[in-house]
């Protein structure tokens, strides 16, 4: 099957800095891709380019369309939730459903109403009367009722409490995602998306510095915990990162021989957040 998104040499300069610096990547259908990077790394710019919201240099193909020129057609197949609270404050639940039902050809009203029935949202409620969590529930109900091929989520759970955050990703997985759909998500709350991602992309200074599926990440990166007296021995193997926990040292390796490390200490798969911290070391320095 063809890639859902394929980018080659994607660049975008703002006045003083490069937001995207010749980034190239491909996203296959049926994946959940986490685009993770520090603030100002170019995540949002990349998403905006995919959504046709900004101009850029280079080649970009989304679902076989050029987002710069065929945006109207593209948006029938693509949905996005950019941040919480971008729903207009004046709109009522019933108005939002009516409007999307009558302007989006792939919207399923029954589905949307079923999702809304599970929440406390009532038809006459206005967005300005809702809490952040409720706004996201409404937005998610609207988006999940659209049979789109690509869903883009830009910090969708920012500022929500843990109950809403868990519910958000759970609904996405249980009621929305299938092998014909693709989800791209950016977030700083890496721990929460870690277990649902199939692919991981790290972006730093406008460049893709890591692009792998989760299985490959598990094979490539290893973490080993050793006692203090053996630390020097491990350090000689050139780990990419080192930290101390309760008098023990934890080392992170990229592509080291697993057997060799197992002889030294307890070996495990690193968490995405530890990997992220190690990869992005020195970003703000």
């Amino acid at each position: 099957m063809n890639a859902v998104v394929s980018a080659r040499g994607l660049s975008k300069r703002y006045k003083n800095a490069a937001a995207l610096d010749s980034a190239s990547f491909e996203i296959q259908p049926g994946r959940i891709v986490g685009l993770i990077g520090p603030n100002g790394a170019g995540k949002t710019t990349a998403l905006k380019a995919i959504l046709g919201l900004t101009d850029f240099q280079g080649e970009l193909n989304v679902l076989g369309l050029d987002p710069r020129k065929q945006r109207g057609k593209l948006m029938e197949q693509v949905c996005f939730i950019a941040d919480v609270a971008v729903l207009p404050r004046w709109i009522r639940v019933s108005e939002a459903v009516d409007f999307v039902a009558n302007t989006h050809p792939r919207f399923d009203r029954k589905k949307c109403e079923a999702f809304l029935a599970r929440t406390k949202l009532t038809p006459n409620l206005r967005v300005k009367q809702m809490s952040k969590g409720m706004i996201v529930q409404l937005h998610l109900a609207l988006v999940m009722a659209i049979d789109a091929r690509l869903l883009v989520l830009d910090e969708p759970t920012l500022g929500l409490d843990i109950l809403y955050r868990k519910q958000f990703y759970q609904s996405l997985l249980e009621d929305y995602f299938d092998e014909n759909k693709t989800i791209i998500v950016t977030t700083h709350q890496v721990e929460e998306v870690e277990h649902i991602l199939t692919d991981l992309m790290f972006i730093r200074d406008g460049k893709i510095v890591l692009d792998a599926d989760m299985d490959a990440v598990g094979e490539r990166f290893t973490e080993v915990m050793v006692s203090a007296e053996r630390a020097a021995e491990v350090r000689a193997l050139k780990p990419m990162d080192e930290r101390q926990v309760f008098g023990k040292s934890i080392f992170l390796f990229d592509g080291a021989a697993r057997a060799q490390l197992e002889a030294l200490g307890e070996v495990r798969r690193p968490s995405v957040s530890d990997l992220f911290v190690a990869t992005m070391k020195g970003t703000y320095a």
Binding site: K48, L51, L53, T54, D55, R71, G72, K73, M75, E76, C79, F80, I81, A82, D83, A85, V86, L87, P88, R89, W90, I91, R92, E95, D98, F99, V100, N102, T103, H104, P105, H139, V143
Partner: protein
């Protein structure tokens, strides 16, 4: 077409306050003030004394009471009916002015733009739906409110007069409510075309400004006028400043106010006396503005400004 209908409906939902409640409340307040004036007049026995209180309606009523000339009473009543529409028209002008100024700016500021842009809506349809909402829907609602208030006012006056021995139904036949209504409704297409340069300019500023669209919309034309005036001062006669203020400045900012197409010229042509007021305001007279080249140049310039606004809407993001 269905999408466009819903786009216009969305504008109505968002701006129900300005489009619907503003003219309704204006009409209501107007009726109430006149009722208060009439009550005061009945109690004190002098309508003229209250003419300052609510414009000259009470004066008209006083004249109608003392005048036996059916035509003049009829004109007076027509004028009473029109006066309500004048008030709703002025309110409409302000509503539409600020509506256009915010139409492509507010959703960028509160970032709801990102929601609208997540739907398969073209920027052209979005901008045009806003033009239609401001130049057709809003004036149509204002006319309905104005006419209903006018009829209410007419009945109020007729009932008052009937207490003074003038037959109510007789009186109503003097007035021309249908003609007045037809004039108002017929003026909507003229308004839509006339308002185009203002709609275009205000929407362009609204789509362009990163902050304070009002300053851009108002200060830029004033500054240009000042520079032109300075050149005129320096060189004598390169530019005629009057032309600029009348044909550019006023058209770009004030054409959203209904009736600004009428000038002194039209009034004189219509006869110039108070009894010709209705002729002055009638459609043929109003539409005569369409014969002037500046009307069409304005409309074309308006369309060009709209095209620029659509382009900006496509590429300006929320940052």
């Amino acid at each position: 077409m269905k999408t466009f209908y819903w786009l216009v409906k969305r504008e109505f939902w968002e701006h129900r306050g300005g489009f619907l409640w503003a003219p309704v409340i204006t009409g209501g307040v107007f009726l109430l003030l006149n009722l208060m004036g009439i009550v005061a007049g009945e109690v004190l026995g002098n309508f003229n004394a209250h003419s300052d209180f609510i414009g000259n309606n009470m004066g008209l009523l006083n004249r109608a009471l003392s005048d036996n000339d059916a035509t003049r009473i009829g004109v007076g009543l027509d004028f009473v009916m029109l006066s309500t529409s004048m008030f709703t028209s002025i309110v409409l002008g302000f509503v539409v002015f600020f509506y256009f100024l915010g139409a492509l700016y507010d959703d960028r500021r509160d970032r709801s733009l990102l929601f609208w842009k997540s739907l398969p809506l073209s920027d052209t349809a979005t901008v045009l739906s806003k033009v239609v909402a401001g130049t057709v829907l809003a004036p149509a609602i204002a006319v309905v409110c104005g006419v209903l208030t006018g009829i209410g006012m007419l009945l109020l006056f007729a009932i008052t007069l009937s207490f003074h021995g003038v037959s109510l139904w007789h009186l109503l036949t003097y007035a021309h409510p249908f003609r007045v209504t037809a004039n108002l409704i017929g003026a909507i297409p003229l308004y839509a075309l006339w308002a185009l340069p203002s709609a275009g300019w205000l929407l362009l500023c609204s789509a362009w400004a990163r902050s304070k669209p009002f300053l851009w919309a108002a200060v830029l034309p004033v500054a240009v006028g000042m520079v032109l005036a300075w050149f005129k001062l320096m060189s004598g006669r390169i530019f005629d400043g009057g032309w600029y203020w009348h044909d550019v400045f006023a058209r770009a900012l004030l054409s959203v106010f209904p009736g600004t197409w009428l000038g002194q010229r039209n009034f004189v042509e219509a006869g110039g006396g108070p009894e010709h007021t209705l002729d002055f305001l009638n459609l043929g007279n109003a539409y005569s503005v369409m014969a002037t080249p500046s009307f069409w140049i304005g409309a074309v310039a308006g369309l060009a400004l709209l095209a620029a606004a659509i382009w900006l809407r496509r590429w300006r993001d929320d940052t």
